[in-house]
């Protein structure tokens, strides 16, 4: 995950995600449950909104964290999405 440790520390400290801290700093693939990832994701997303315009650098980096979480969370059935969009001529 291409994120800097100080950023992760800042996020963890802000949200007191001490239990989940290990999850973020360790190997992502060893995540205990989808639920705990979703909990972190929700907290990060709130933080993301709060800092949207204030700090562009932070914003870019957090975007990568969020995308990482999303990608490692529940995998959407992209074939099915694609089929439904095609059925309406959207793609």
């Amino acid at each position: 995950m291409p994120t800097s440790p100080p950023l992760l520390y800042y996020i963890m400290k802000s949200y007191q995600l001490t239990d989940n801290c290990r999850l973020m700093t360790d190997d992502f693939t060893s995540a205990n449950t989808i639920n705990s990832m979703n909990a972190i994701y929700a907290s990060l997303k709130k933080h993301y909104y709060d800092n949207l315009v204030r700090n562009m650098l932070f914003y870019d980096e957090l975007d990568r964290v969020l995308r990482g979480f999303k990608n490692r969370g529940i995998k959407e059935d992209e074939d099915e999405i694609s089929k439904r969009l095609q059925a309406l001529g959207y793609i």
Partner: protein
């Protein structure tokens, strides 16, 4: 002494996906939509500009956030994952600006079937996601509502695939979906103590894609079926109106308009013919086949991206050459004619329409077509234009907005756009503007 409980003002938002200003006005005047006609008499109806591009994911994301795509991050139904050629499908998790129901956490909201709100996220109230939601379990918050929705035979969307084999079957499914949606709204209206209630009927868009010709042609086999569906929508609007109190405000709106499709125009075909787009396999429909000689490529519906060095793995256009490529593309697109008709009405540069921190992810150009031309990326298309089953297509200029509230004379902008809605919602709820205003 009489004590009056200090209640928050209630707001009802009814969305009808893809219904043009022209149609709502005409069907109201001709008696097909009498309840809507009565709402129009009581309020202000205006033509409204949609987002650019005029697709539901971008338009509804703009409506619920009041933000530009370069602020909320939804530029279309598809995107390329950053620094790759992998097609991705942005969803509610990718929305980078908060929807209006998070502006005042004390207000309880019921949100039903707003496109691009999947997967459902927690809120003070209830949310049932709209298109493209795949799984009712992940489309519903709170989850305790799921058994009730199952009992109602709730359907997230019409199975549009049915229209490709049988329009009769499609219309039957359309009807069932609308009925289930109405059941769900009734249940939530009666069982939740809400402050904001929003329901979007997306069946109107589905019907118009396949049967816009039936609307325009009174002798068409399905003309009456088309009108009957809008009559049912009107019944639902009337029923909702009859349930409101005097102090409640109502917003009725669409996200984009519709018109007849004459021809599909495949942008990638022109890009390939003029040497802007090179694929490793010429007939490939896969973006991962974009070759390093490519200078520009298109994503649906008509978003053009310059193949910049450093931005894409095989990007070849130097930053200082970007403007030259853009000028060449503008010359190409403004010259396209099919059977003597100009195809492109307007070419927007990124800098003209996208404002916000996410503008680096925005398309470099967006094309808007003349009447009747439906623009598609069409990576796989062999011919520059063609025709398929769809008889209706989205339009950008003629969505509509109706606000029933007269207490604030300035509430309705003279030329409203989808970006004004969250601001109007804030004013109607408690006189506040959106947080960043």
């Amino acid at each position: 002494m009489i004590f009056i409980k200090n209640r928050k003002r209630r707001l009802v938002i009814i969305g009808v996906d893809g219904v043009p200003y022209r149609l709502i006005r005409d069907l109201s005047q001709t008696g097909i939509m009498p309840h809507t006609a009565s709402l129009i008499k009581q309020g202000i109806l205006r033509q409204m500009a949609s987002s650019i591009p005029e697709v539901s994911s971008v338009a509804w994301s703009s409506i619920i956030t009041g933000k530009n795509p370069a602020e909320h991050g939804i530029f279309g139904f598809t995107d390329l994952a950053p620094a790759t050629y992998r097609l991705s499908f942005p969803n509610f998790s990718d929305l980078k600006a908060p929807p209006f129901w998070y502006h005042d956490p004390k207000r309880r909201s019921v949100i039903i079937n707003v496109p691009s709100t999947y997967p459902a996220e927690s809120l003070n109230g209830v949310l049932i996601s709209g298109f493209v939601a795949l799984d009712i379990e992940r489309a519903t918050y709170p989850k305790t509502l799921i058994p009730r929705l199952m009992d109602m035979d709730y359907r997230i969307d019409v199975d549009s695939q049915k229209a490709h084999s049988s329009l009769d079957l499609f219309l039957k499914h359309l009807d069932q979906t609308l009925k289930a949606r109405i059941k769900a709204y009734r249940y939530l209206w009666e069982n939740i103590d809400w402050d904001t209630f929003m329901v979007v009927f997306t069946e109107t868009d589905r019907l118009s894609h396949f049967l816009w010709d039936a609307y325009e042609d009174p002798s068409h086999k399905y003309h009456q079926a088309f009108l009957r569906h809008f009559s049912q929508i009107d019944e639902a609007i009337g029923e909702i109106k009859s349930r409101t109190n005097e102090d409640d405000s109502i917003i009725l709106l669409s996200d984009h308009g519709f018109e007849r499709t004459e021809k599909n125009v495949y942008i990638s075909s022109y890009l390939k013919n003029e040497g802007f787009l090179k694929l490793k396999k010429p007939s490939s429909g896969n973006y991962s086949d974009i070759d390093h000689h490519t200078r520009a490529f298109a994503l649906d519906p008509a978003r053009i991206y310059i193949h910049l060095k450093g931005k894409y793995p095989r990007g070849s256009v130097e930053k200082e050459d970007r403007d030259k490529v853009i000028c060449d593309l503008e010359a190409l697109f403004s010259s396209i004619e099919i059977q003597g008709k100009k195809v492109i009405k307007r070419i927007y540069r990124k800098e003209e329409i996208f404002f916000g921190p996410l503008s680096p992810y925005a398309p470099d150009l967006v094309l808007l077509p003349h009447q009747g031309f439906d623009l598609k990326a069409g990576l796989k298309a062999k011919e520059p234009y063609g025709k398929d089953i769809f008889t209706g297509k989205h339009t950008q200029h003629d969505a509509f907005l109706l606000v029933s509230d007269h207490s604030d004379d300035d509430i309705m902008p003279n030329n409203p756009s989808v970006f004004d809605i969250a601001h109007i919602i804030g004013r109607l709820c408690n006189g506040n503007t959106t947080p960043n205003d």
